[in-house]
Amino acid sequence: MTAAPTLTPALSEDPTPPPGASRPRASTWAVMRGLLLRDLTVLDKSLGEFLHNTVTQPLLLVFVFTYLFPLIGQGVGGSSEAGASRFASLLMAGLIAQAMAFQGVFRVAVPMAIEIDVTQELEGRVLAPTSVSTMATEKIVFGAILSLFAAMVVFPVAAFLPTTPVYLVVDWPVLLTLTPLACFTSAALGLTLGTVLKPASVPMLSGTLALPLAFGGAIFYTWESLDPVPWLQYLVLVNPIVYMSEGMRAALFTGVPHMSLGAIYGALTGFAVVFTVLGQRGFKRRVLA
């Protein structure tokens, strides 16, 4: 007795190949590439909105804190140029982390919540001849690419806008390993949230999640400077943006205190694994329901 042919191979986690045929590994990549191309094409159609969302926040923050404030005598970092430059440097690392985190989270979570519950596009896409896990992974990879782009945009903003110099000294091995890890973690968090959220609760995301993540994410201050408030210093350790901000400080500046690289890599890897597992499970639960 042979198994009945299935029209929806992706609905089973590991579709059985026909007898005598092996499922080539390349096909997974081909499907992944196709899905990525599809998402990028959709993004290309709304490029203006994407650029607006990506550039506006870092541009405004850098403009206000490192251009406008020093000019109107409200510069952060005291009266000395060294203090102002130090703050500009601290802020730049935090902004890169914030850009990565928010782009990764929002670009995955919001469309996913809508695609699952409103447009039900994902139901159509699970017909693709691949596993549901591959589709969930593609979502993370797509979010990570956008997250990486958002991080890259902060560099020219911070290079040309501030009135005070930013003393950037790149540690390339750290930057080139930490950035992809942080982007992947952000997108995986986005996948997790996207599979949990209902479309009606999406507007709440900025108030209930984004703001606490941002203000508790060591973006405007170093984690070490929370020493006088120990309860907060330990509470913010559950926030992945803390490790991204501290990691960017380690990668881009010298003489600026930051967590040990072991703690940064360890925590981000842990978050990436946990969010990927939770996101994959949630994705399967939602699309196969």
Partner: protein
Amino acid sequence: MRGIWRLGLVAAVAAGAFALAMVRFSGAAEEGCAQRLPEDPSYRVQWSQQPSTDLTRYRLSITREGRPVTEAEVCLNSYMKGMSAMAVTDRGREVAPGTYEVSVTFEMGGRWPARVLIAERARPVVAVPVLLEVREAPVPTTSPNF
């Protein structure tokens, strides 16, 4: 790929802007004494007096293996521990063989981790870490003069 040519163009522009930013950043760190440098334990830096919030000039005696370091470029870079954006920096001027003067104002008393960057002729540039205990000077009390 034809469907994403605009996206490709934007990515290329962003990559170009990133490269330009790195070029602009490249010289700034040196100006601000913020290079990533190896530490060398053979150097010793001694302060002429304990740093205090009411002083603005300090003399640093710099030696390497017990001998004064002369005709070097010296730069001090320090920040206050626990304060995200309180920092001082200055380049030293040699006022006597092996003695360099810096003008900095520590705005608050407390711990100020510092790095003294030393560039001797024909030797690699090194950083010497120093932990400064800055004394909070008493605020002068003056009677109101109506």
